[in-house]
Symmetry: C2
Subunit: 368 residues, 2 copies
DNA sequence: GGTACCATTTTGATCGTTCAACTCAGGTAG
DNA sequence: CTACCTGAGTTGAACGATCAAAATGGTACC
């Protein structure tokens, strides 16, 4: 354990007092240019950095924010939170902050950790993820007077007292619909999750509204179930068996989209040729799936940047009214979205049935 | 921002001095039982916890360890490091420590972060992951007199001066071989990565040695390429086309194993019925693949526990000689490993060719 | 009775930094 | 000439805990 220099040692060596060294770093304008240069040179020479503990004690700022770690296979968050954590670390570090992670199996446990960290003055603020209806965490944090930002809107709360940053899921699914419509699709289905989840409803509305704007009927094109590949598969299967046989699928998640790809194959159709699919979140699987999956990508780096910016401006006491930031996602197009087949495009408006021939089924393969 | 109590406030309320309150928490045996009870009651009543900053300043221990964050899709680490980070947080927290994460794109950048954190006295120690041949990080850290443990052996270094914890990959692949041999397999292939990587060679040796112990020939059963699903697929394809048509595959990673599954299908065979496959790492995809993939699972929770135990015992100055811990993995058996087919088992020793019929190929499907 | 000893508790110093108040020289205004 | 300000740098105090040493009170021993 090497001995590292303190401010006093730097001061002595540079022939000035403690405070002057401190000012060189924190308020350079107070020093005469030549003094400043000399002190900075000494700091550099000794490789001095102020002790975090001593500084925290005096300034009551730890330069650390905390964020809960969610399992990477956490339902519905296909790698998004992994990316977020990375981006958060980078964004924080570029402003001299660190990120402390912890895990918790539920929100109450998370609150326990918050409580511990707050009491020990171990962090300056928190980043909340996976906000949902009836979320008790924001309320608790506000009560405690803690600083925090949420990634995700305060679903179900009209005028939340806290800041948040979120991605506009509705725009995402709407863009996906427009993207498919430009490829000639009219019967664009949506595979969603049951009503009541914030992001679920958000993404659903985007599809719904875009379809309406385009004048496309939506009857028989909506299916909902819990998120996951298997449910995506069975939902898509149902819709493909229905009267309004869809030529395109917009999905709540990549998992569901992958299920849809399977279902399309089950029907003897070729995904990315006969039927298009667009997923959501652009998870790591999307670019390597077969066919490679088009997906709505969230601007996570931007989100992280904003989260840190907003949180730190509150920590520093700069702003007092909560910020609300909504960022637009972007459709990443890959093989799984394709132009509508000629014959289908010609047969056109909502008529159904034989337009997409159910070729010799490989269903027996899948049955096993 | 609520005002939180200090030790002084607790002391006053309990009618004792600062130090007595401090002792109540840190050295309870020094207090008279009745005093202890009274002080603890007051602590509880006020919800007091010592300020981390003040404590750190005095004791020079931050109660924080740092760990680099790797992209979850980092080549070859199928979710293992995600699990590790989780487990690390839990293990650390149970001992009153926190985990600070940071990201870095290469080892030099990681060292820069180490340097910053050390100078600022921001952490007590580090956990290194993804050790490799010619790794400069351990050397640098030892030079700096920093405390750290590595997850992964110091490949290529005889008697490393630092502590490490690792999983015995050789035992893992060997167990996989024995597992398949118990199911009647003799021609067990290995899909590995090019020579020169620590974990790669380790796992290869396990296969190699187990095969030798069992008296099974290995000629024509080894194939190597960069990790990944596509390379796994082409390697398996080559071996299946070879003279020693394997009935089982042991793989360096789950990615390669998934590739092998595909290749087996390419040959018109049914994975998990005609040919068995065992992956490595038990990544999140393994239990949901089709067929569900048998895989060698690393005892990550145990690893994390050991990492923290070793690191903290060094931080506290308890032990001075480096610890070396090697934990055994465990084969998780799923559908992808199956008994050898009757006819194959009968035809027995190394003879080849028509034993596994190439049924009507679905290769055209795959070709597209 | 004096002293040595133990158990328990208190007091003073300290960790390394920043804040607030102060010094000191030089300039400017009244 | 005095009062006041301004720029540059210094010094004392404080942040909230722990460490080390000293104080306290009681008991036992010679």
């Amino acid at each position: 354990m090497k001995k590292r220099p303190t401010i006093e040692m730097v001061a002595e060596r540079a022939g000035v007092s403690r405070q002057t060294v401190s000012n060189a770093a924190n308020a350079p304008h107070r020093l005469r240019p030549e003094t400043l240069e000399r002190v900075l040179a000494t700091i550099d020479e000794l490789g001095y950095r102020p002790s975090q503990a001593a500084r925290s004690l005096r300034t009551r700022s730890t330069q650390v924010i905390a964020c809960r770690l969610l399992p990477s296979n956490y339902a519905g968050t296909s790698g998004v939170l992994d990316r977020l954590l990375h981006a958060l670390c980078d964004a924080a570090r570029s402003r001299g902050y660190g990120v402390l992670t912890f895990s918790a199996t539920n929100d109450d446990e998370e609150i326990e950790v918050f409580d511990d960290l707050l009491r020990r003055h171990a962090v300056d603020g928190f980043v909340l993820t996976n906000t949902h209806h009836g979320d008790v965490r924001p309320t608790w944090l506000v009560e405690q007077g803690a600083q925090f930002v949420a990634f995700g809107r305060p679903w179900g709360v009209e005028r939340a007292a806290h800041s948040w940053v979120d991605v506009d899921g509705a725009t995402g699914t709407a863009d996906a619909v427009y993207h498919l419509s430009e490829l000639g699709h009219r019967r664009i289905a949506y595979l969603g999750v049951p009503e009541g989840s914030g992001t679920g409803d958000d993404r659903y509305h985007g599809w719904q509204q875009a379809m309406q704007e385009l004048g496309f009927p939506t009857k028989g094109l909506l299916a909902r179930a819990e998120d996951g590949m298997t449910s995506g598969r069975s939902l898509a299967d149902q819709l493909l068996l229905g009267v309004e046989q869809p030529t395109g699928f917009v999905c709540f998640s990549d998992s569901m989209a992958l299920g849809a790809l399977r279902a399309i194959e089950d029907h003897g159709l070729v995904p990315g040729a006969d039927v298009s699919v667009v997923g959501f979140d652009d998870s790591p699987i999307a670019p390597v799936a077969r066919p490679r999956l088009s997906s709505v990508r969230q601007p996570i780096e931007g989100v992280a940047h904003k989260l840190v910016e907003v949180l730190l401006s509150e920590v520093s006491g700069a702003s007092h009214k909560p910020s609300r930031v909504l960022l637009p996602p972007r459709v990443v197009t890959r093989e799984s979205s394709c132009a509508v087949r000629q014959l289908t495009a010609l047969s056109g408006d909502g008529t159904t049935g034989k337009t997409l021939p159910l070729s010799t089924s490989n269903r027996k393969d899948q049955a096993k």
